[in-house]
Symmetry: C7
Subunit: 72 residues, 7 copies
């Protein structure tokens, strides 16, 4: 059994896909997270809406509240 936070921790420095409620998504390098909120820090981020790129950011802090899933 793999705990969700262990999988998240093992994904540090890797590219992840983060999907939020409302059709928004972020592709970026996972640079950090906190517990228990699961707020994330992503670097070199491509912001997606309904599957299309809508912008780029060097860094984003994503609030955990809105996250549907994180895919390493």
């Amino acid at each position: 059994m793999e705990k969700p936070l262990k999988i998240l921790h093992a994904s540090l420095t890797n590219r992840v896909m983060v999907e939020l409620r409302g059709g928004r998504g972020y592709h970026g390098t996972l640079d950090g997270y906190d517990v228990p909120h699961m707020n994330l820090v992503l670097k070199n981020v491509e912001e997606m809406e309904n599957g299309e790129s809508i912008g780029k950011h060097n860094t984003v802090i994503v609030r955990g509240d809105n996250i549907i899933y994180v895919s390493p």
Copy 2:
């Protein structure tokens, strides 16, 4: 009587169906969960929207907040 977490635990390594608010669903192998949030780790995941496959992922961490049900 079977506690929900006991059923979830017994489903580890099995294929489960996870349905989220908003018409999204995931079929995958249950690889982990946490308590009390019921965040899940799924492997070999097929992502569904309104009954149709919309993508595949090796691993997803699904936040428990959005889960409607888990069906082992």
Copy 3:
């Protein structure tokens, strides 16, 4: 006076109807629950949407968050 959890406990092994936010419902045999979340385990479940059957499941774990009511 009957506490809600006492009524729920007395419904174990009985068929119950569980209605969720968003028009979804489940008919099934109540096999378990937890406190204080009121997550439920249902067996031999018929899934309903707006009054029509849309599927069957051997077992579902329903998150308490989305429940509007449980009717034993």
Copy 4:
């Protein structure tokens, strides 16, 4: 001054109207409640949607989360 829970307690065995978010309502005999969730047990319940009867139940456990108001 009357505390809300005191009014609720005084309504036990009386008919009450419970209105939920989303246009759903329940008329029934208040048979129990819990604290602090304000989950309710209603007996001999008529389920209403936008003012029209849509069904009857012997017993319902209504989750407090969705309640807008209770009117004794």
Copy 5:
């Protein structure tokens, strides 16, 4: 400085207007409240929807969750 609960307390026995999410409102005599939920007891209540009267109630217990504002 006036704390919100002090203002609420000072409004006991007065007519207040309570506006809820979703366009619903209540005019009534404030008969009680609790802390920290800010559930309210109103007496001689006129229920409003989008500015029009849609019903009267002797007593309502309004859950604090849905309140936008209380105006004494």
Copy 6:
């Protein structure tokens, strides 16, 4: 660095603009607040919807839950 509550405290007796989810706003004199809910007391309030005045109130208690921002 200025903590949000320090800024809020410094705004007491000043006119503030409070914007809520759903297009509703309030212009008024900040007369009080509480911690940690950030419920507010406003005096001499103009209620706005989508930028237009829709009413006036001597006093309103605004629940912090619905606040998007407060602008002193």
Copy 7:
């Protein structure tokens, strides 16, 4: 690994972009925040809706609840 709050702290006095649920955004100088709510103080703020400027504010206190992401 960089914790979200450390990144936020390092952004003090810098321009940040804050995106909220519902298409609203704020560009401003980060002047403060609190823990654990992640309420923010922004100065010299441009308010955006769906990518267009809809107003300016000297100061805004943004509630953390509605934040999707903060981009330094």
